[in-house]
């Protein structure tokens, strides 16, 4: 356990020292500042625009960080051969993978927290006060984090299996398909073909369903998220995330470092 924590902390340090992270974080905060301007020119719906743009920025920049840092988690260690000195120590390969996963997740939680503070600051600037109704934004942020937890799992899985560039492509493709999986299933049902319907159903159940985590529009309109959605999404992310990390461990256990 202590080794997992140590690897996670090291991964966090490594991620935090990546220059690209600061660029993305700076850009995301800038976008939130710009959201205030967009809000001003949208009479009556200033808050909707601000929350919408703010949460979308958190989601998109979080996704970029998860993919770009995630694909290098294992790939870069193999490429640079730094992994030799770690795996020759009394470290189980599973500990290495779990440590890497939680290290990047922790980085993303910190970044998302900073961006969320930025969003609340922008909201306060716009409204001159904050109310308990604004807490609903946190629910959307929580769902974004669940989504990111799955994206990190995907990136980690592919980085155990493939090169960093291919891992990025696979992870991004699955993210896009996963966001559209409900639409794909609906399309399958509409075609009337049993084969296509079954195929789209398989895609729907097999690939991560990112669409269910997207509540940005509801939150922007001040709608509360039902409790059962919070619970079911949390359980789904936990289960799917566990499967992804386990699959990454299985692949990594068999991996040779030539």
């Amino acid at each position: 356990m202590r080794r997992v924590a140590s690897i996670a902390l090291h991964t966090f340090k490594e991620s935090v020292r990546e220059r690209v992270l600061y660029n993305l974080l700076g850009f995301a905060l800038l976008l939130m500042g710009a959201a205030i301007l967009f809000g001003r020119i949208s009479v009556g719906i200033e808050q909707i625009i601000l929350v919408n743009l703010g949460l979308s920025s958190i989601s998109v920049f979080g996704l970029l960080m998860a993919i770009f840092i995630g694909i290098g988690l294992v790939g870069k260690e193999i490429e640079r051969r730094s992994i030799y000195s770690i795996l020759s120590k009394p470290v189980r390969r599973a500990e290495f993978i779990i440590g890497k996963y939680f290290g990047l997740l922790f980085t993303l939680v910190i970044n998302t927290a900073i961006m969320t503070v930025g969003l609340y600051a922008a909201l306060f600037y716009q409204k001159r006060h904050l109310s308990s109704a604004d807490l609903v934004v946190l629910e959307a942020v929580y769902f974004i984090l669940l989504q990111l937890a799955l994206v990190v799992g995907l990136a980690l899985f592919f980085s155990c299996l493939s090169t960093p560039i291919l891992s990025a492509v696979f992870t991004f493709c699955l993210y896009v398909i996963g966001n559209l999986s409900a639409d794909i299933r609906w399309f399958g049902q509409e075609t009337g073909s049993v084969v296509i319907e079954k195929l789209t159903a398989v895609i729907y159940y097999l690939l991560p369903n990112f669409g269910d985590f997207n509540v940005i529009a509801q939150v922007a309109h001040g709608e509360k998220i039902p409790g059962y959605v919070l619970v079911s999404n949390s359980l789904y992310a936990l289960l799917y995330g566990t499967i992804l990390v386990s699959a990454a461990i299985l692949v990594f256990e068999e991996r040779e470092f030539r």
Partner: protein
Amino acid sequence: MLAVETLDLTKDYDVGFFRKRLRRALDGLNLGVEKGEVFGLLGPNGAGKTTTLKILLRLVFPTSGTARILGRELDDVAMHARVGYLPENPYFYDHLTAQEFMNYAGEMFGLRRAERQGRIDRLLERLGLAESRHLPLCKFSKGMVQRVGIAQALINDPELIFLDEPMSGLDPLGRREVRDLILELKGEGKTIFFSTHILSDAEMLCDRVGILNRGRLEGCGELREILRLGVAVTEVVLDSPCAALLRELRPYTRSVVWTGQRVRLEVSAESDVARVLALAIRHAAGIVSLNPVKMSLEDYFLGQVGATPNASQSREAVTVSEAEQGKK
């Protein structure tokens, strides 16, 4: 109990992109390394030295055969707490300082903070890195990275240390320091298993050597034995010998080389040396020197490796090692 034991260790790698085929990197390696000895694994590039070390450190898996370290199976994680490893051409984390990296390495062994810090201080001091401890590793020269690599391999005070080309990238002073360090570690009772293609290092440090070529162990033994076996030639230099003497000496000599007024003779059998000297005295030739030529590890290496179809490659390896030494 042996420190390292391999039994028919074999490794095949997949090569080729479209048409996959197997390339045998290690072919039935049987090796035993005693506790407390310095064992050198020698061989030209591509002989299978690094593959052997990687199998022992479970970075690659053997195709067949088994190995044990300190009496334990290779997948025994606890055993790795008693082992240190310096990879070939090591590369560590650019974003970490030497102090942070050593700390990370120490954490992997579950060392407590105070103990960890004490060992880091001692090792960085011992390897001449104390002043650079707070510099990021990306600012380190190749030699400094090599020293960090050695330091991290010793952080757990291991019983058995694997060093893959430990002198690589070091300047003459660094090479000497590492040589002294290996001897110090041996003095502390540690077992050292290192691979090298620099024969002079092996000659200076190893109790026993194994010679690998194309994945096969071509020879293995105590260095003293190997070198003693090699005392087969006695070099005799005579001044102004007459033609009659040279004619009489012909049955006892292997080669005759003239240098100005002097002639250098190689006498193959030790029992013939006295006869050669007696003849020289009888013909009033000056005896300049008499020198029993010991076989060097390099001769032995070439004898073992050079006889195979891979000879040109091995010669190249020796030449490289000589060139490297010359440079340094």
